[in-house]
């Protein structure tokens, strides 16, 4: 069984937002909404500041609270790669999943259902990369099977120092950032 995840090299990311534009184009994300976004994280005290740029999205957690809290069964884990998805035809728009997500990765689509990153599962099923990964001009994003010890993502995680966002929230996020 595959377990899809993403590895993002924060050293290479320049915050060009190409991933954001690719996602909006590929998934027809409505104006004013984002399934992925860029974060600038500045730490330290002037003048010794340290800035990191990273691209963020749904972390497709292993223990997704958005799935367990859903009263309609619309939020679910896809059979392929453990990707967290929303079945639009089952969603009543109660917004419990939005409250449950520590990453605030979800939003209400203007048509009334909860929406978020799908890891471009429609592309992945055809053997393609997610839109954001495929367009990244600095090649800072890697998508692959975290369960496969020979995959590029696993090799990167084994060789480079990395972290995930808010592991203390207890959701086991599956996107890792290389330092």
């Amino acid at each position: 069984m595959a377990r899809f995840g993403m590895v993002i090299d924060t050293v290479k990311c320049v915050g060009c937002m190409d991933c954001v534009v690719a996602c909006k184009t590929e998934n027809n994300v409505p104006e004013g909404y984002n399934r992925d976004w860029i974060v600038q994280d500045v730490r330290g005290d002037y003048p010794t500041l340290n800035m990191e740029i990273r691209t963020e999205r749904c972390n497709h957690c292993d223990e997704p609270p958005c799935v367990s809290c859903c009263p309609c069964g619309a939020s679910h884990i896809h059979d392929l790669g453990g990707v967290v998805l929303v079945d639009h035809d089952k969603c009543s728009g109660c917004k419990a999943c939005i409250a449950a997500c520590p990453y605030d990765a979800r939003f209400i689509h203007p048509d009334g259902y909860a929406d978020k990153c799908t890891f471009c599962i429609h592309r992945v099923e055809q053997g393609l990369q997610p839109a954001c990964v495929s367009v990244c001009p600095t090649h800072c994003m890697y998508f692959g099977d975290l369960d496969d010890p020979n995959s590029e993502v696993r090799k990167l995680l084994a060789s480079r120092k990395n972290y995930s966002l808010m592991p203390e929230a207890g959701t086991k996020p599956q996107i890792f950032y290389l330092e």
Binding site: M17, V20, G32, Y33, N34, W37, I38, V39, Q40, D41, V42, R43, G44, D45, E56, P65, S68, C69, C70, P71, C72, G73, A74, D89, K90, C91, S92, G93, C94, K95, A96, I98, A99, A100, C101, P102, D104, R106, F107, I108, D111, G112, Y113, M166, E168, A169, G170
Partner: protein, 316 residues
């Protein structure tokens, strides 16, 4: 220093989530109030107090049905995909408190209707004389009355507790992540329901009894609020940041002045005087308790949505 700058600007999500407006606090308040009314009317039935003249048992289930329907309507208004509301009743998700709640709400109605039949209000029996026939059958059998009483008490407790579990199960919102929240909402529901009976009952014994009961519930509620605050302050940094939102942050004024002082302490003082026969029973204290109960839900829901694991990096 840590400063996060995000390009995301999703509606209702950024800069901090505000997905639930007035509808959810109003529903949580009405749900708690009805839960308290069910427990109280169950108690009145169990203790045979419903046989006393002017007992409010005739009104409580009727008010319960009306208020719960109003609460469910506000829940419906909150849904973004309204035509898909039936999806909640096509499945039961054991891990979802909201799923439990939607089914509990369905079970509550038959219990309230059975309760209503025991002492139906006059205007109903005049219009539908057949009700008296069912009513006499139920009243003739003590076993049925006791069953209805226990059903109302247990479903009332379930409803009251669920409104708190609904929020406390969201670990992403540190302010809600407290095990005493369900108890706080249950006791607040009992307190507001006692205040309502204190206000509307025509039976003097009942008025005094529920003024006394409300004083006990208010005392318990103040103690649980203290436990809630201590629990948060002795927890993780995210919980400490979250509780400061209501201790001295943007929600502090509403919390201390309207919820604690005007909603709990002052009515406790007024009701204590009326119980001691120093002043007469008026609607002032019950109205303050009811308004305080509503504002408690507003503060908890709004401050809870504001609270975040990353809050310290947002507000520093």
């Amino acid at each position: 220093m840590q400063e996060l700058t995000s390009t995301r600007h999703n509606l209702m999500i950024d800069p901090n989530i505000h997905i639930w407006g007035w509808e959810i606090p109003v529903y949580l308040f009405l749900g708690g109030l009805v839960a308290g009314m069910m427990i109280i009317s169950g108690y009145l039935l169990y203790k045979d107090k419903y046989k006393e003249p002017d007992s409010s048992i005739g009104l409580l289930p009727l008010f319960g049905i009306i208020l719960l329907s109003l609460g469910m309507f506000t829940l419906f208004l909150d849904l973004e995909h309204k035509l898909y509301v039936w999806r909640m009743y096509m499945t039961f998700r054991i891990k979802s408190p909201m799923s439990w709640g939607s089914w509990i709400l369905i079970l509550v109605y038959p219990a309230l209707i059975a309760n209503l039949l025991i002492k139906p209000p006059l205007f109903l029996t005049k219009r539908f004389p057949k009700i008296m026939y069912y009513s006499s059958i139920i009243r003739g059998n003590q076993k049925i009355v006791k069953t209805i009483s226990i059903a109302n008490i247990s479903l009332g407790i379930g409803l009251g507790i669920y409104t708190g579990i609904l929020l406390s199960a969201f670990s992403a919102r540190p302010l809600w992540n407290s095990a005493v929240l369900p108890l706080l909402f249950l006791i607040s529901g009992l307190s507001t329901a006692s205040a309502l009976v204190h206000m509307i009952s025509k039976n003097k014994h009942e008025r005094v009894l529920f003024a006394k009961a409300d004083n006990v519930f208010i005392g318990a509620e103040l103690f649980i609020i203290l436990l809630f605050i201590i629990g948060m302050l002795s927890s993780a940094q995210a919980n400490i940041d979250a509780i400061y939102l209501i201790l001295n942050g943007p929600y502090a004024a509403v919390f201390w002045i309207f919820v604690v002082l005007l909603g709990l302490v002052i009515p406790l003082f007024i009701q204590s005087l009326s119980v001691l026969n120093k002043i007469s029973h008026t609607a002032v204290a019950p109205i303050l308790v009811l308004a305080g109960g509503l504002l408690l839900r507003f503060v908890i829901v709004n401050a809870g949505q504001f609270s975040h694991w990353n809050l310290s990096s947002f507000i520093k």
